[in-house]
Symmetry: C2
DNA sequence: ACCATTCAATCAAACGTTTGATTTATGTTT
DNA sequence: AAACATAAATCAAACGTTTGATTGAATGGT
């Protein structure tokens, strides 16, 4: 069965996507030239317009591509959680949430993709393009939602409760900051890169803090309205 | 005393800086054209090379400009803290740290500068240029350091203790995430912008979590080596 | 008359995109 | 099976535009 055509098509196509991922991940959209990408991908200039219409099309496709990769990397954690959640105890949910964040931490810090992802993801958060929708639907949304369910069940609150959502956001924030603001922390630690002890220490610290946050008292609706 | 000359120089100079701050804050370095900046600043193209040598020079000056503005906004908090710290009780230090983060939160979310700062600051963290040094020395470093001193004193640890530094980093992370990943949280909340209750609720939540984190048990140096 | 500043005009280089020809694979007819 | 026709994919070359930068003249306060 000659898959040669499809293969060859996907070949330059994926070569372009990989090159674009690397390029867009480490530099601005406008800082990356199409010529640079095709050179990296060992393809011809017009391959971009042929496979993706234009540069923007390639960028959108790249974000979608990244979303899928990242999602796949978290899939085991994410998908298997939904059914597990129904028969889990509240106590288990708290522990699971901490574990999830721990895995997430390692994933973005040590993982292959974590190298290029942050630049793109932040850019889309800061200045959403059409590609943000994809990113949210396939990655950010599900992660947030799953985590919210865990937190909510552990604390006996609703997964739509703003307080829970704020908490989830915080938990993610204190995790990703070690990737986002890596440069600053390393400068303070007077190191060039995280040592093994750093990784271990931070992960432990995040776990401790996660549990402490989860155990804070739910706000009593003493509301003033 | 004829300040007119200096004034006029500073006039277009600062007009350029303000325009550049706005431009670089909302778009990539390469996404911003010099012509666009000078048009915003109502100046001539060659004003850039005259006042800042070239585009890069303008960018560096803009980062320095931003650093100063941000630092000034936090100066009351920051400078008055050093002397205060020496005669403060541990308990006070904990409370002060939480307060500081609260102010910081409002500053980056509601403040004028918070609109343009995140884009630049993140970009410099993710891909440091020469300008990062300025940013670190005048803003990021001092903030981290001050917070570390507060946390350390409250917890009876050293301000150089990695655990303290990790904790400070986390605390900052869970604060800035509400600005950085604003888009995502708003999408989850199904809102266009943070409501007054959101701001209030998040600030309260951050305070609670900050205290919970500060009160976690210091790691016993049960070290395995 | 001098100096700092602003201006319009101009430059080469790099940009994203398009073109028309060429090569490679697939399908059809004999 | 061989010859032809059609489509998919790649290629070098060129397009017009925009980019950051430079120039030398004009302006205005002292």
């Amino acid at each position: 069965m000659s898959t040669t055509q499809t293969e060859s098509r996907n070949d330059t196509r994926t070569r372009l996507l990989n090159a674009a991922l690397q390029a867009f991940g480490s530099r601005d959209y406008d800082g990356v030239s199409t010529r640079e990408i095709v050179e990296m991908a060992d393809a011809n200039i017009s391959a971009i317009s042929y496979h993706f219409e234009n540069k923007q099309g390639l960028y959108h496709a790249t974000v979608a591509y990244l979303s899928e990769i990242l999602k796949a990397g978290m899939a085991e954690q994410l998908d298997s959680l939904e059914p597990w959640l129904k028969q889990a105890s509240a106590e288990d949910c708290g522990e699971k949430a901490c574990q999830f964040l721990g895995h997430f931490f390692e994933h973005i810090l040590l993982g292959e993709v974590g190298k290029h992802a942050p630049g793109i993801i932040f850019r889309e958060q800061n200045r959403p393009t059409e590609a943000y929708q994809i990113l949210f639907e396939t990655l950010l949304g599900p992660m947030h939602k799953t985590l919210a369910q865990l937190v909510a069940k552990y604390r006996g609150q609703s997964a739509q409760d703003p307080q829970v959502l704020y908490m989830v956001h915080s938990l993610l924030g204190q995790t990703v900051i070690f990737r986002i603001a890596q440069t600053t922390l390393l400068k303070i630690l007077k190191q060039k890169k995280y040592s093994r002890e750093d990784i271990k220490g931070i992960k432990h610290q995040l776990g401790t803090q996660c549990r402490a946050i989860l155990d804070t008292q739910p706000i009593t609706n003493h509301s003033d309205q």
